[in-house]
Symmetry: C2
Subunit: 248 residues, 2 copies
């Protein structure tokens, strides 16, 4: 038995999210289907760093699984890529020790959220960016960001549907910048994120950028521990699981 770690990317547009769901096309079911095919009908369970929702993309999702095959890592990548649909790709594969776990060993995660503010909608980016055709005050957004960085109870920035008890998380970094294509990027690095947390933080920061909230109000929202106080949840289309960090 060999444990394989893989870095995968997927275009979330045509998936009902990452996790297996009955009668839905999901990333997990596609990969497990390809692995079952390679293993002559035996079920191989994969474990990811975490789920992603419908429409959400991944540039650097990490998974692991165990296989009885002693295939070199580079061959795993080629074999699995040839079996997968073209909206999932294996970027890197490596053999790891049996104590590695894609979910439990996560140290940090990086997500990015992409926005474009042009007046006209763009047919080519409709599944990859959030079209938000409004003027934004970048300085206010950058000021508000400072209040989110650090260790806080993020109850106000978490979907009320969540079942997680402990809502304290640490955000190490938030950056807001324009890339070479004129897209606006929010970059978040943290020890973990609650359900819809990035999307609610972005929605709130956009309200700050529009002058609907003052940057300092972020502190009040955090303190309130009430989802109603924060901004709207922005769509999943602009969200990317960018990178997952482990100890080595």
């Amino acid at each position: 038995m060999q444990r394989i770690k893989m870095i995968i990317s997927y275009d979330g547009s045509a998936f009902f999210g990452y996790q297996v769901q009955p009668n839905q096309r999901t990333v997990q079911s596609e990969i497990e289907g390809a692995l079952k095919n390679m293993h002559k009908g035996s079920d191989i369970r994969i474990y990811a760093s975490g789920r992603t929702d419908a429409g959400v993309h991944a540039v650097g999702q990490v998974i692991h699984f165990d296989s009885p095959y002693k295939i070199p890592a580079s061959k795993w990548k080629i074999a699995l890529n040839s079996l997968l649909p073209n909206d999932i790709a294996i970027g890197h594969a490596q053999v790891v020790t049996n104590d590695f776990h894609a979910r439990f060993d996560v140290k940090k995660k990086e997500y990015r959220y992409k926005i474009e503010t042009n007046q006209d909608r763009d047919v080519f980016t409709r599944n990859y960016l959030y079209h938000f055709p409004y003027t934004l005050d970048y300085l206010s957004i950058k000021e508000a960001i400072k209040y989110l960085v650090g260790t806080h109870d993020f109850t106000s920035f978490c979907s009320a549907k969540t079942e997680v008890e402990d809502k304290v998380r640490t955000i190490y970094e938030i950056e807001f910048f324009e890339d070479k294509n004129g897209e606006l990027i929010f970059r978040f690095v943290g020890d973990g994120f609650l359900y819809n947390m990035i999307r609610i933080m972005v929605g709130t920061l956009l309200e700050v950028g529009q002058g609907m909230k003052k940057p300092i109000e972020i502190l009040e929202i955090l303190e309130a521990k009430n989802r109603q106080k924060a901004g709207k949840t922005v769509p999943g289309t602009g969200l990317y699981l960018w990178k997952v960090y482990y100890d080595n």
Copy 2:
């Protein structure tokens, strides 16, 4: 009765081409459906600069149609955009004189073909670029391009299926360059292009870039007037109708 000219863009991925076909989703049928909706069930026929095939995109396709409504051009754009699916967008609308015709008045057309040569396939560009993971000799491609520019009989670069008699066309410009994202772009400007002509020219230029054909062989291929002598037809996914030129 007012004649309206519109510049439209579409993501060709989910269309069975531009032109109406029975039981297929096409760009023309979507726009005519939206116009019928606006005109209380009356059929409004649209005319385009030309068709595009399945999977082919448009940044600057031009259409015209006649309407009994005296709506200002800017309102046409807003009204139609609100009715269209999000893979078609109206970029510009203007009222024109009744002698304008989107197809018959075309002076020049510009197409672009986009390629990426990275080893790994990219899940996010799979519908928008042609993934061609091979090393290319740019200088050979640039030399070969010179033999294609000008007025020639392009029978060798035209699908054998075509019914057009006159296969003489003039290409004013071909450029080959790398854009800021590292994508390779072929840019073609001509008075008109035959069926699959761009895709066969690109397929042939890629064979030159790989050293399978010498640049000078382009001359022999043109002279042969035989589709078999040219290279493969590359996929429609990398092709964009970029701009249509009229006299004013």
